[in-house]
């Protein structure tokens, strides 16, 4: 379980200093699919980065079960990311000079996962193991990034606008892969999006506006990637 208590985060200095996160308190249950929904500039990506230990809050606490990660040293945070967390970004950030197999191996090597090719197979890329990121479409690159994140067997998967750079069909496909794999492996998902339709796929939706949580609600029925609008 991830618990955030009164998180505050500021950017800038002096006159240009402004508050990006204002007293954020939330709880994310294990195995949940949580969507952080908000317009551009609402602070949703900063919240994701803070929850995932990529950024430090200026005040407040974040608990992973009973461990307060705001108190951890840089090496402990590295260990946390190594053992428990997976990331998927809008821009994929694949290693351009390594092929699909080796990009996924980047995640797998951390978890000593020798069966990582089953995940490549699960995202439908087993025929493109030797292809380089520059030779793949946007959707395929994002699927590599999904496989890379899952190959390290994370307990929590953080996704920052994973379909932001994809067309509708490819976006649905990627989301479907992620949901199918979540059912199989049972990891927690925290996803940032500005697309209200994608929120219908989640268990819990956290709406953000101007750095504050404006609403938290649960969906009684989770829709699939092919049932939502776009």
């Amino acid at each position: 379980m991830i618990e955030a208590k009164e998180i505050n985060k500021f950017y800038g200095k002096g006159e240009s200093r402004f508050q990006v996160l204002k007293n954020i308190t939330l709880t994310i249950r294990d195995g949940d699919f949580t969507v952080i929904l908000g317009a551009s500039g609402s602070g949703k990506s900063t919240l994701l980065n803070t929850l995932s230990s990529l950024e430090h809050p200026d005040s407040g606490n974040i608990f992973y079960d009973k461990t307060d990660i705001t108190k951890l040293s840089e090496s402990d945070l590295t260990k946390l990311r190594r053992d428990d967390i997976g990331f998927i970004f809008q821009q994929y950030y694949l290693l351009p000079n390594m092929n699909v197999d080796k990009n996924v191996k980047m995640g797998a090597a951390l978890a000593k996962n020798k069966d990582y090719r089953t995940i490549i197979d699960a995202v439908g890329l087993s025929g493109k193991l030797r292809k380089y990121p520059g030779e793949l479409s946007g959707g395929e690159q994002q699927r590599v990034s999904v496989a890379r994140a899952l190959a390290k067997n994370p307990k929590v998967l953080f996704l920052d606008e994973p379909t932001g750079a994809l067309d509708e069909e490819t976006g649905r496909q990627v989301l479907d892969y992620i949901c199918t794999l979540q059912k199989k492996y049972g990891f927690t998902i925290v996803m940032v999006t500005h697309n209200v339709n994608i929120a219908e796929m989640a268990d819990t939706v956290i709406k953000m506006n101007s750095g504050k949580i404006s609403e938290i609600y649960s969906n009684e029925i989770r829709k699939t990637a092919y049932e939502i609008g776009w």
Partner: protein, 396 residues
């Protein structure tokens, strides 16, 4: 009616090269400063000494005259030549790096309709660094020249000389190199701008995919970090060359200057050692900073995934270590061969010329200094990377 430039054009020009970019070229200024200093000093002396040739009557004076003329030519030629080659390499490297890291802006300008030559001609400003360096170097030589002449006069083997001003030397050492390097920057940029617009816009264009020859290598199940180390080196051959070249410069310049102590006067060798060390450290610092800069995104991604600082450094930075050792070894052989040729061929007719042997002491000192400098710089950059937040790296 007055014709005004469209705003877009002005904005486009602003997008190109700023003062900040030129400031980064300080290494070129330092190298050209050294080149102008050495060449101005020795060439001026050589021109002046030729003017008093008729006044030399005693045989000892003639021997001294011939030795001075020959060693002046060698020092100006060898160190000036080395420094010019270094400047060419540095300048091309800077222009290439600039185009690679500003590919998107340049691609947009090209897409907007700016011609290749219109964009490339803005790169003349890179030559300003050469102008600054040569002016300072020439001025320093002019200031030091009376002292330098006094040292030579004190030997009392040649008629007393005073430094004279030679305008064509000023032209050759300031105006000519400046124009040459400005043209070189423009031409190289023009050549690089030949890439299609989409190629410039795509970031991945800068990283060439090196496919293994055949499936065998690709399927080799080596550990990820070892694989990454190999791939990082293979994907940016220009950096491999530059790291090797900097080690080559370090090795050859430091050893050559120490060996020349035995072959020439104290002031000659002091100058060579100073210039050698400046050049060696500049190129080494620049090459390693480029290695770190070009791999920051890979390091950032590794940190996000939970790779430790040590793993990041070892896979990205330490891979260049063997390359630097090879560069050092080649530099050692090169300086030995060069000095051997100078002694055996150019000074062959001179009496009392000491026999030249490989200088193991110089090799030892140079190697220890190189290892220390290399590891300290790598350590400093590793620390710098560890202090940078992942977000700041990814936003770059």
């Amino acid at each position: 009616m007055k014709f005004e430039k469209p705003l877009m054009r002005l904005d486009g020009e602003k997008m190109l090269i700023g003062i900040k970019d030129i400031a980064k070229l300080f290494a070129i200024s330092i190298v050209t400063c050294c080149a102008a200093f050495v060449c101005a000093l020795f060439l001026n002396y050589n021109i002046d000494i030729v003017g008093i040739k008729d006044k030399i009557t005693n045989p000892q004076g003639i021997i001294m005259y011939n030795a001075q003329v020959a060693s002046g030519k060698v020092v100006a030629g060898v160190s000036g030549g080395c420094l010019v080659v270094t400047t060419v390499v540095l300048l091309i490297f800077y222009v290439k790096n600039y185009i690679d890291s500003h590919g998107k802006e340049l691609g947009i300008l090209k897409a907007l309709g700016y011609s290749e030559i219109n964009i490339a001609r803005r790169f003349w400003v890179f030559g300003i660094s050469v102008l600054i360096g040569t002016v300072i170097g020439y001025a320093a030589a002019a200031v030091y020249m009376p002292t330098f002449y006094d040292i030579q006069n004190d030997m009392e083997l040649l008629p007393e000389m005073q430094p004279e001003f030679h305008s064509f030397l000023t032209f050759s050492l300031i105006a000519f190199p400046t124009v040459f390097f400005m043209l070189l920057s423009v031409l190289y940029a023009f050549f690089k701008m030949k890439h299609p617009v989409l190629g410039l816009l795509r970031e991945s264009q800068n990283i060439k995919i090196r496919k293994s020859k055949g499936k065998k290598n690709d399927e080799k199940d080596m550990p990820f970090l070892t694989d990454l180390k190999k791939n990082t080196i293979r994907s940016r051959k220009i950096l491999v060359f530059f790291v090797g070249f900097s080690a080559f410069c370090f090795s050859s310049m430091t050893q050559m200057s120490m060996s020349m102590k035995e072959l020439s006067s104290e002031s000659f060798s002091f100058m060579m050692i100073s210039i050698g060390l400046i050049l060696a450290f500049m190129t080494l610092l620049m090459s390693l900073s480029s290695v770190v800069k070009s791999n920051t995104k890979t390091i950032a991604m590794m940190k996000v995934f939970g790779y430790s600082q040590k793993e990041c450094s070892s896979s990205v930075l330490y891979g260049y270590r063997p390359v630097s050792y090879v560069g050092f070894a080649v530099g050692t052989v090169y300086q030995y061969m060069l000095l051997k040729i100078v002694v055996d061929v150019i000074f062959a007719d001179f009496e009392n010329m000491p026999e030249f042997h490989f200088n193991f002491k110089a090799l030892g000192i140079s190697l220890i200094a190189f290892l220390a400098a290399y590891e300290i710089i790598i350590y400093c950059y590793s620390r710098k990377i560890s202090r940078q937040s992942v977000k700041s790296i990814m936003l770059e």
